[in-house]
């Protein structure tokens, strides 16, 4: 008797409004294996896994677990079928303890008292077996992300998961933490559990998976045995053509220091130090890249420079003039442009029409209307010019911004910030969720800015992006600058710094 595959998906289809997130997906995952799923942002990976976990309902298609067809109406059914999931965005109640989070939904009775003792014991056991140690009485929001992720894994195991789905578990981890996670995953596999691992990082795929499937634009385009494929092949499958991640650019011609950060410290609303005594300079005509794992203070640093967050101490100088504490409007006047890392929450007002977004932040500029009123004709004409120049599609300034695709939304932001001809540009995650074509376009514009002798500060969690664009690189870890490197520094060396290991 051949054992049934742990998971079989047949003809899964799912749309969100106009977005066809999953198109006729077929997938087979063998029991006791680690199966990787890769694909660009927005390829539909999370959607597919959420369907398997019962979080979303498929519009069409069939799911078989251990050969038995089942309808996963909700997460409860999934849990009962032995599926556990660690979501890309953690599903934890932040002001609850670890124990309460683990118990939630599996309390073992109407009253809590009974379940608590059992849960403690089980946690002890899991800790011993897999090396998943966390203090059961710690409050989630006080734990570092790596630990929070363990709680997620514990939640799944506590519910007796046989199939474990991990959605981009390493995005928030340092390489060392990631290695620890992989060791745990191997132990789990060796005990017969089936693991579905979603990631962008081909290195991880090669290191740990047995098989790998590739998604592109909602479709499942290929499945390979990991041993029989290469990084190059996977990358090509992912984007549908040969990838050229190197950006063509000449030598930098750095001039005088334009942006200078001195001993900057930033605390968040809870008083936790996010940026810790950071100093650096950015010269005109150069791109300074800030590398680091997400959540190590880069976002806060950018926001402080852009005037969105008040620094606790330290100095920010533009052209030698102290600007710390000035508001974003004032900083724009001083020639600082900012492409924010989150276009949906900051860079754009999604309910606005495109032309309205094309002046966001610059709406008080006399070009867009004198006195108290806006000159809508001028704004629309301006927007049309940008649309033409940046090939924003569809070329309609009266379209609601939400109805543009991610890449085009990003171009709206980039066009707005760059076309103002600023002296300095600070950029967060310029190509997050953007397709390859747009990536190349945006990268070229950034290099052009440098060549026009502007100062560019670039933050990205994509090491490749940092390395191919930057002229100099600094690395942040736990809010501190832990090192500086040149673009040709090895991935290994940068990775060590990003993990705070040097």
């Amino acid at each position: 008797m051949t054992p049934h595959p742990a998971i079989e998906l047949a003809g899964i289809d799912k749309s969100f409004g106009a977005v066809h997130a999953n198109k006729n997906i077929n997938l087979t995952v063998a029991k006791g294996s680690i199966h990787g799923i890769i694909g660009e942002n927005g390829a539909g990976k999370s959607t597919l896994m959420s369907i398997l976990y019962g979080f979303y309902q498929a519009d069409r298609g069939e799911i078989r677990i251990d050969g038995k067809p089942i309808t996963i109406r909700d997460s409860q059914t999934a849990i009962a079928s032995g599926i556990g999931m660690v979501h890309q965005h953690f599903m934890l109640v932040e002001n609850f303890t670890v124990l309460e989070n683990v118990m939630l939904g599996a309390e073992g009775g109407q009253l809590l008292a009974k379940g608590v003792a059992g849960a403690r014991k089980e946690l002890k056991r899991l800790e011993a077996e897999y090396g998943l140690d966390v203090d059961p009485d710690a409050i989630i929001e006080e734990l570092p992300v790596g630990k929070q992720q363990r709680v997620e894994i514990l939640k799944a195991l506590y519910r007796g998961a046989e199939i474990l789905i991990l959605d981009e578990p390493t995005g928030v981890l340092t390489p060392a933490e990631a290695d620890h996670l992989f060791r745990i995953l191997k132990v789990l596999r060796d005990q017969g559990k089936t693991i579905l691992l979603i990631t962008h990082k081909l290195r991880e795929i090669m290191a740990i998976t047995d098989e790998v499937s590739v998604m592109r634009r909602g479709e499942m385009v290929a499945t390979r045995k990991t041993a029989e494929t290469t990084v190059e092949e996977l990358a090509e499958l992912m984007v549908g053509r040969r990838v050229l991640l190197r950006v063509e650019k000449g030598e930098a011609q750095p001039g005088k220091v334009l942006l200078s950060v001195k001993n900057l410290t930033v605390k968040d609303s809870r008083g936790v130090t996010m940026v810790d005594d950071v100093s650096f300079d950015v010269r005109e005509g150069e791109i300074l890249g800030i590398a680091g794992v997400a959540g190590n203070g880069q976002s806060e640093l950018l926001e402080a420079i852009a005037g969105i967050r008040k620094p606790t101490s330290g100095e920010i100088l533009i052209d030698g003039q102290p600007v710390a504490g000035l508001d974003p409007a004032r900083l724009r006047e001083l020639g600082l442009a900012h492409i924010p890392e989150d276009r949906h929450h900051m860079g754009l007002v999604l309910k606005f029409e495109e032309y309205e977004n094309s002046v966001l932040g610059y709406h008080r500029d006399p070009r867009y209307g004198r006195g108290a009123l806006l000159d809508l004709d001028a704004i629309r004409k301006d927007a049309e010019e940008k649309i033409a120049k940046y090939d924003i599609r569809p070329p309609n300034p009266r379209l609601k911004t939400a109805n543009f695709s991610g890449g085009n939304q990003q171009k709206i932001v980039v066009a707005r910030e760059i076309e103002r001809d600023p002296k300095m540009l600070i950029i967060g995650q310029p190509t997050r969720g953007v397709d390859i074509g747009a990536i190349e376009f945006i990268h070229r514009r950034i290099v052009e800015m440098r060549d026009a002798q502007k100062a560019v500060l670039l933050v990205s969690v994509e090491l490749d992006e940092i390395r191919s664009l930057s002229d100099r690189i600094i690395v942040m870890f736990a809010g501190k600058v832990v090192g500086e490197a040149t673009p040709d520094a090895g991935e290994q060396a940068l990775g060590m710094m990003m993990a705070g290991a040097v």
Partner: protein, 367 residues
């Protein structure tokens, strides 16, 4: 498949859907009428006749409409900035004080058209002042403007009663109210406007403040969709984080939006105080501030929609008074029920019919 992100043409979003919501609200109101043993169709007929049947009735309807335009605009302006101002009632009440002070000060000396601009300013200033503290608390201390404005409605009531009972009351008179304004402190009625349509206004207090209301509609439209400040308010209202990014000052914008909102509410007082009763009375606002919420929700916070919605509520108020007169079993609070139902269906259940409409639309348009 989810229908939430399927775009619909404007005439459906701003036409069909609100009308559908309204119809349900009226249908349920009809059920209430029926349940207390009256005939809803008969009631509807009486209501419409009572509101539009004669020149005088129309005059009353437009009188109420005027008040509701002001309060509707007031709620809408705050709404665009992401603030839910439930305090229009209190702001209008205090605005009445501003209007009355001007009228009392000037009516002996100058004709009404000289008094009027000052009264507009007085009413707006007082209304705005009453909105200031909730606005400040929201802007600087993060106290929810919904609750603070409700509290300020109560405080306004206490303040105004105190003033009317202890300061303004005419000695020897029973009712806590100011003396009657002379013609110099009254806004004249719009008999001529009604006459243009061949109707007689009679005693209905339809007055010049209607024109002020229409002017305000235009100014609010200009503010929201054509001005830099309006752009900032809308940005803040839709996406506070984008507003921060764009350097739009939160506190300042919140406070200005609330001041404008309060000012518009305050101007509502011109209509009853200087246009109708020619004196400041206790509780003269009589719920118009709250009607403004329904009007604004129904009019989708657009001045044009607000004019329509205000007129509809004007019909309800005037027709309802007549209805309750003809059918004593139906009291005027029936209007409050309808108002609640409109807020429920046009506001909270705004999208209840959207999925169904989307499906019908898709079928019909062959997608």
């Amino acid at each position: 498949m989810s229908t939430a992100s399927v775009p619909l043409p404007n005439w459906i979003s701003y036409g069909v859907l609100p009308v559908l919501n309204l119809l349900v609200a009226f249908f349920i109101s009809g059920l209430v009428v029926w349940s207390i043993g009256e005939n809803p169709f008969q009631a509807l007929k009486l209501l419409i006749e009572g509101a539009l049947g004669r020149g005088e009735a129309i005059g009353f309807t437009l009188f109420y409409t005027t008040s509701f335009i002001f309060t509707g605009l007031s709620v809408a302006v705050a709404f665009h900035a992401g603030l839910f101002n439930i305090g229009s009632e209190g702001q209008a009440y205090v605005g009445g004080l501003g209007a009355a002070l001007v009228a009392l000060a000037l009516d002996h000396y100058v004709p009404w058209y000289v008094t009027m601009p000052f009264a507009v300013i007085g009413a707006a200033l007082f209304g705005a002042a009453w909105a200031f503290i909730p606005a400040w608390l929201q802007a600087k201390r993060g106290s929810h403007v919904v609750i603070t404005t409700i509290m300020f409605n109560f405080i306004a009531a206490a303040l105004m009663v105190y003033l009317l009972v202890n300061v303004f009351i005419v000695p020897g008179k029973m009712a806590p109210e100011t003396r009657t304004f002379l013609p110099g402190g009254q806004l004249p009625k719009l008999d001529w406007l009604m006459a243009l349509f061949g109707m007689k206004l009679g005693p209905a207090p339809f007055n010049v403040s209607f024109i002020i209301a229409l002017v305000m509609c235009y100014l609010v439209w200009l503010l929201i969709w054509r001005s830099k400040l309006g752009y900032e308010m809308r940005t803040l209202g839709i996406s506070p984080s984008a507003a921060v990014y764009a350097g739009i000052p939160y506190s300042r914008t919140v406070i200005i939006a609330m001041l404008i909102s309060g000012g518009l509410a305050g101007m509502m007082a011109l209509n009853p105080v200087m246009g109708a009763s020619a004196r400041l009375q206790v509780e003269f606002v009589a719920g118009a501030g709250f009607v403004g919420i329904a009007v604004s929700l129904m009019g989708r916070s657009h001045p044009l929609g607000i004019v329509f919605a205000a007129f509809l509520f004007g019909i309800l108020y005037q027709g309802g008074a007549d209805l309750s007169f003809e059918m004593p079993n139906i009291t005027r609070e029936m209007i409050v029920v309808i108002q609640g139902l409109v807020i429920l269906f046009a506001g909270a259940l705004e999208y209840m019919f959207r999925p169904a409409v989307v499906r019908i639309y898709q079928t019909l348009s062959g997608k």
